[in-house]
């Protein structure tokens, strides 16, 4: 059986190098036969695409897609900083 560390590394490389994703900011962990994806992206479509690419790179593992979709907010009063 392939060591989970190598599977996680392969998924991480696939997310960075696959032209559908080019995603460097996702944390990948293989634990208990499951593949965990964590991080923040800008849309649901992208969240699902990342899971697709990860699944292809690690067939046979259950993908737990814990990536969060980040909603960009308007700057709010009080968030301005005086330096």
């Amino acid at each position: 059986m392939e060591a989970p560390q190598y599977v996680a590394a392969r998924v991480q490389s696939a997310l960075a190098e696959d032209e559908r994703t080019h995603e460097l900011g996702i944390r990948v962990d293989v634990r208990g036969g499951q593949l965990f994806l964590r991080g923040r992206v800008t849309g649901e479509e992208r969240r699902l695409l990342i899971a697709d690419v990860a699944r292809e790179a690690a067939p046979g593992l259950t993908v737990r897609n814990e990536i969060v979709v980040m909603e960009v907010r308007d700057p709010e009063p009080g968030q301005e900083e005086t330096l």
Partner: protein, 237 residues
Amino acid sequence: MRELRIAAVGDVHLDESLRGRYRVHLRDIGEHADVLLLAGDLTRHGTLEEARVVADEFRDLPVPVVAVLGNHDHHSNHPAEIAAMLSEVGIKVLHDEAVVLDVDGARLGVVGGKGFGGGYAGKCASDFGEPEIKAFVGHTKRIADRWRVALKELDADRRIVLSHYSPVKDTLIGEPLEIYPFLGSYLLAEAVDAEGADLIVHGHAHAGTERGVTPGGIRVRNVALPVLGRAYGLYRL
């Protein structure tokens, strides 16, 4: 001289699917800021199609826009074409050089460039060994040298350094320690500390932290969009 209001964001990673979705947050920027700084990774893959979206999102704003490119903007080997497309819509793209903006009579100087990696003092790559390592470290050294010269020659009332890679570790907190050498280099901070600046802004480290400071006491802000969670950071100088 009145305070200057700086808006800054990096890592917007725009593509056709996001067209119009960032610009909606810029509708009031003229009321909040005097200038908008873009800290690189404006595209996802560095294609000209994505650069067109970037140009359309940031064109014709009521404030000047100054940008640097990031590693994603280099991925398709078209950084010069991307910079030219942004320049055509009035965005000033800095490549290890300075621009001085006149803001109601106050001179705001911005020195900027992509920056690069290598790591932080005492735990970094050295200019030693194989040519590949020398090329990696040498790239950062040359960039730091150009920033030093640009800052030395800069004549302005306020001085900002705009980078993609991080000059300090403080703003990387949250990122895995093992990848720090790919997130920035202390050589960038050393150059800025030597010549002085009022603020350094950077992106690149999506899981990092907004606020940090150089060894010489210059404030550093990581304005990567996932770090801010808001359309841009606002800083008064």
